[in-house]
């Protein structure tokens, strides 16, 4: 009897909530059409009454808040817009999943363009089309938006839902020196002591590692690590994937214009074998498979690596430590692994897709002010505000040109977190930063970073057309691609640590076979079709 009562109760609650889950779709708000808005008048100047927006950032590491520094206070005063950043405390995916599933998306969302969530939010009708908002409330938007970026992000329905930051069009590559992030680095003093060996061939590479290990067995009492790479994860390591392939100048597409599996290229195999040989000679320390980014940064600061295939931006703080101790112990970029024809590397740098996209959610109660604020930030005036900060605090006019104040510049180069809090300029807020526009203001890079930045200039290439070709995880091809990527985390370490050539061959063949069995060809076909569309968009 008692059990029955509980059963009835539980069932009742079950059905009650089931109906709750099923209901609750929100209807679109009807908005009055724009009357007579002048596209030459910045929309944000029409209304500067206070308004607050919640702004979600899909980056748990973002350390700053709005309103702490003089710049954001200045922008709030100028435009009336106050921002409350929402940053996930732990797993980003978990946070955004909850926001989407609970229909709790805040006003703005800034997220990496490659994330499947972007497609989810658009298909789920959760975000506004920016072009529609602009037509209705702020035609000035079209004046400040870069047409090639809008064209790139236009979807099949003819609308644009997100606007990128750090976006470089192929033309920007001709206009500016765009740096790449992938570098092959060596410790300057050791490299010079070894007589600057040529490390472009497998033989030269192994010989140099061997010589380095012999000449410098220990660094400050701890064993030298002859070669360092990026952290290994479920999908392998960037160093043994994209970075190595870029250095070997492996193309993204076949001669007939279809997408290519860069992980099956013979040049790539040749170098994995080289790393395997190095491993069997005891030149690859197991550290590189175990260490996480924090441990690696610590070891860089101690100068324990002889050579690294690594992103130079991660050297910002450890390189400074080394430089202060001994300017000769820093890392410098040198020619690294090359293909058998010794071609120049083709280092892919950021393309038209940029880094993040910013979207306006349909939960936003004041889309009018939201789109106008976006236009403000995208305009040259907004970019200059966010780049230089507040006049008198961070910059002053010198000969009719804005210049950072010396104290501000000093703090920017040496103590970035303090600079963010006390100035808030120079991309502290990067959500809509327009890097090509900064080129006119950017000061020249300084040592100890100058050498590694400038080394990449001649080798940087635009690979915009290959961005955004991957199938999203809701498609069958997307699932296959996910599995193919997860295999990299398993097979690449297995290949590098294979006991002998026979085992290496067996593992390699098993890997290629597994990819074929999963149906990777279907994924490449899908990507080839997307590539076709992208090329048309970019006019290539």
């Amino acid at each position: 009897m008692k059990n029955k009562l509980i059963n009835v109760f539980a069932l009742a609650i079950f059905f009650l909530t089931a109906t709750l889950f099923a209901g609750g779709q929100q209807g679109d708000k009807d908005a009055a059409p724009a009357a007579d808005l002048d596209p030459n008048v910045p929309g944000w100047t029409l209304d500067t009454s206070p308004v607050e927006f919640d702004w979600y950032l899909h980056f748990s590491w973002f350390p700053n808040q709005w309103g702490v520094d003089p710049l954001s206070q200045y922008v709030t005063e100028k435009t009336g817009v106050d921002i409350n950043f929402i940053v996930p405390a732990g797993s980003e995916a978990e946070k955004l999943n909850t926001l989407i599933a609970g229909d709790q998306l805040p006003d703005f969302i800034t997220i990496g363009w490659w994330e499947g969530f972007v497609n989810d939010m658009i298909e789920g009708d959760m975000v506004y089309a920016l072009d529609e908002l602009a037509e209705q409330y702020d035609p000035y938007f079209f004046k400040v938006a870069v047409p090639s970026r809008l064209g790139w992000y236009e979807r099949e329905d003819g609308h644009v839902y997100g606007y990128p930051n750090a976006s470089y069009s192929p033309e920007d590559y001709e206009r500016y020196d765009v740096p790449a992030n992938q570098t092959f680095l060596v410790r300057k003093d050791m490299y010079e002591a070894l007589g600057k060996p040529d490390m472009r061939t497998p033989e030269g590479f192994i010989a140099a590692l061997e010589a380095a290990k012999k000449m410098f067995p220990e660094v400050n009492g701890q064993p030298l690590i002859p070669f360092g790479s990026h952290e290994f994860g479920d999908q392998g390591s960037d160093s043994f994937g994209k970075f190595l392939q870029d250095f070997l100048a492996i193309p993204y597409e076949e001669a007939d214009g279809t997408m290519k599996d860069r992980f099956a290229d013979p040049e790539y195999k040749r170098w994995l074998k080289a790393f395997n040989d190095a491993n069997n000679k005891g030149l690859i320390s197991p550290d590189i498979f175990i260490d996480k980014r924090a441990q690696m940064e610590e070891k860089i600061a101690q100068g324990r690596y002889f050579s690294m295939l690594y992103q130079r931006t991660d050297f910002a703080s450890p390189q400074m430590t080394l430089f202060k101790n001994d300017p000769d112990s820093v890392y410098i970029a040198v020619p690294g692994p090359s293909n058998s024809k010794l071609d120049d590397p083709t280092l892919a740098a950021v393309g038209i897709s940029g880094w993040t996209v910013t979207l306006i959610s349909k939960n936003c109660e004041d889309p009018e002010r939201a789109i106008r604020f976006m236009s403000y930030w995208m305009s040259e005036e907004g970019q200059r505000d966010f780049y230089y900060g507040v006049e008198g605090v961070t910059w002053e006019m010198v000969d009719g040109k804005p210049q950072f104040l010396p104290e501000a510049k000093e703090m920017m180069d040496t103590d970035r977190p303090a600079f963010d809090k006390q100035h808030g300029a120079n991309q502290t807020f990067w959500m809509l930063m327009d890097n090509p526009m900064f080129e006119q203001w950017q000061p020249a890079p300084v040592e100890p970073f100058k050498q590694m930045i400038e080394w990449t200039y001649p080798y940087t290439v635009s690979v915009s057309q290959y961005d955004n070709t991957e199938p999203t995880p809701d498609l069958d091809e997307g699932i296959v691609l996910g599995k193919v990527k997860n295999m990299r985390g398993k097979y690449i370490p297995a290949l590098v640590t294979a006991k002998d050539s026979a085992e290496f061959e067996a593992v390699w063949n098993e890997w290629q076979q597994k990819k074929a069995d999963l149906g990777y060809d279907g994924v490449l076909e899908y990507q080839s079709e997307k590539l076709e569309i992208n090329k048309a968009k970019l006019g290539l």
């Binding site: 889950f21 995916a93 390591s237 498979f289 175990i290 441990q295 809701d474 597994k514």
Partner: protein, 313 residues
């Protein structure tokens, strides 16, 4: 004046008057019941996504049914046998080593007569329990590295000649996982047995002393049998949890080279569900795990009931 109903055994009353009679007690239990229903029972509705192809932008009801496709994929997945092997391997090792040790520890701790010494040992032994695995994982990685504590000790004592990268050896991973967990949880796990021991009537020990039993005999013939019901219940629970590996621990200790020994079901679910956003597939794996756990629980419970006379229900 005494209520005459107090003298009637409760089970003889009708349900209604029984509820009325215990209304205050039931009222106190209500919040917990509501909590259970809201957080444990209602979410069970979500289990059906294991048979659907769920996308986060649609409601569960709107997602299309796919039958057993997710399960079929799981059992034909290349990594499935490896994942099962690791899960069961670590699970059984933990059961055989991690289960009896706290009991033995509690028995011996109980024999220490000096109260201050006993308490000190107890406190030290359960200290590691309060360090989270995220922190402890970092410490373990240091201890197990080429210039770490363990290599230092083994080198100094001459057991090995050159440093070993323990975390890079798949064959060492099960041992690392099980023994570090045993070390962390030993003292904490012993608490429940110490509580059971403290409930034993001193009269039994006094009678045994009169009969001339020594301490070993008292431990084997009084303490052990007295805590057996607790041990049985704990064993049943431990068996049902055999597929539940310590997720935090394995997540921080696993890496690219030991993954052939460190990929377990929980990690697999995390990888597929969170990293690849395949909620339905992850739910299918999780449901499979729950069903196996339920079977193990019922089985262990039944065996214990038949052989020992103690059971959960």
């Amino acid at each position: 004046m005494r209520n005459h109903m107090d003298q009637i055994p409760l089970r003889k009353l009708s349900l209604k008057s029984r509820i009325y009679h215990q209304r205050y007690l039931l009222f106190m239990a209500l919040p917990a019941l509501v909590w259970m229903i809201v957080f444990n029972y209602i979410p069970m509705y979500g289990i059906i996504i294991a048979f659907k192809r769920y996308r986060i932008i649609k409601s569960i009801a709107d997602s299309p049914w796919v039958g057993l496709a997710n399960f079929k994929e799981l059992f034909t997945e290349g990594d499935f046998s490896m994942v099962m092997k690791n899960t069961l391997g670590i699970g059984f090792m933990r059961l055989f080593i991690g289960f009896p040790l706290p009991i033995i520890f509690a028995l011996f701790l109980n024999e220490i007569k000096h109260a201050g010494f006993k308490r000190t040992i107890q406190t030290i032994s359960y200290l590691p329990h309060f360090i989270s695995w995220v922190v402890l994982g970092g410490i373990m990685m240091n201890w197990l590295s080429d210039a770490g504590l363990f290599n230092e000790i083994l080198m100094k004592t001459g057991i090995i000649d050159e440093p070993r990268f323990f975390l890079a050896e798949p064959e060492s991973f099960w041992n690392i996982a099980v023994f570090s967990d045993v070390w962390k949880e030993l003292g904490w796990g012993a608490i429940i047995y110490l509580a059971a021991i403290s409930g034993i009537s001193p009269a039994l020990y006094e009678a045994a002393t009169v009969d001339g039993a020594n301490r070993w005999q008292k431990m084997m013939h009084i303490t052990m049998p007295s805590i057996m019901p607790t041990v049985s219940i704990m064993l049943i629970l431990a068996i049902s949890g055999i597929l539940t590996t310590n997720f935090d621990q394995i997540l921080v200790l696993r890496n690219a080279v030991n993954q052939s020994a460190s990929d377990v079901i929980d990690i697999f679910v995390y990888r597929v569900g969170f990293k690849m956003n395949r909620f339905s597939y992850a739910q299918a794996i999780s449901l499979f795990k729950s069903v196996v756990a339920l079977i193990l629980l019922l089985g262990a419970n039944q065996i214990s009931k038949k052989t020992q006379g103690h059971s959960l229900f």
